[in-house]
Amino acid sequence: MTRESFVAGLRLGIGPGAATFVLGVSFGAAAVAAGWGAVLPVVSSMFTFSGSAQFTLVTTLPTGTAAAAIAAALLINTRYLVMGIAINDSLRGGRWWRAVQSQALVDASFVGAHDGGGRFDVGRLVGMTVAQWTCWVTGTALGVGLQPSPDLLERLGADVVFPAFFLLLALEEVRSPRAAVALVVGGTFSGLAMLFLDPGLALLAATAGAAVAAAPIHRRARGDVGSPR
């Protein structure tokens, strides 16, 4: 991990960080409305640092048992099992140090740190995550303090921010026919899974799109599996 790649990651993290900030405001307000008080939302954002899991907890805890809410929140994070395996070859050191480095995994960083061909720049990964973590925690604190209504945030188009960022990251990531296949098949699998399964499993189903795109039948496709940035 070099200082240059870390700084590059910080810069790259500003865009997703801005989206994370908006979502953080929304999470902070939702958590206070759900009776979490002022401290727990910020503590959760500092240590859990998973928007999807935190939102799932906030919305499911008041309506069901704690066990069901925890299961739903963990289910939505199962994609990190796959991402942890994916990034392991690019990590350095023994298994415990690798496990520490893997804590920097979040969606946008996983994509932004990808150099192509299954290689990841760990410095860039950490830099991007530091930027997003800062924005996520700050946004949560602001949401706790201001408590804007979810209706206001939606009227301002805040719900567009995250999927729009994911779309732009996807458009940047599609640099080969195989990547395009992975995108289309992953989206299709996820959409089909959404009809019957929990969103967490639908996300996991999307990763199967990568397996389909990498299947030997596509070997003759030009452009192979992505080129280094």
């Binding site: 963990l74 990190y80 395996i85 496990a99 893997s102 996983f110 299954g118 719900d159 639908a202």
Partner: protein, 100 residues
């Protein structure tokens, strides 16, 4: 108290999910077929995230203004708008549609 315990359990669980691969694999390299899959993981995962974000509950929660806003952001980016500006335009488009 229930919320504090739930947050603690989810924090530990989420952390373990990230660490499980590196903890079990250590310095062992992935075989070539698995590396090929890994190299295509990012676009597949992004597609899933977009679908889940837009789909709502079982795809029943599709919001036309949100979908249109995301499309506007994509078009703006294709027309060489910087990423942040493209997203901002998408949010403004969705907000405008909701005003109508």
């Amino acid at each position: 108290m229930k919320a504090w315990i739930a947050v603690l359990v989810v924090t530990v669980g989420a952390s373990l999910m990230k660490a499980l691969g590196p903890l079990t694999l250590g310095r062992r390299r992935l075989p070539d077929p698995a590396r090929r899959v890994v190299s295509l993981m990012a676009p597949a995962l992004l597609a899933g995230l977009i679908v889940v974000e837009l789909g709502g509950d079982g795809l029943g929660g599709l919001d036309r203004a949100q979908v249109a806003g995301v499309a506007v952001a994509g078009i703006a980016w294709r027309l060489r708008a910087p990423m942040l500006l493209a997203v901002l335009l998408g949010a403004v488009a969705a907000a405008a549609l909701r005003l109508l």
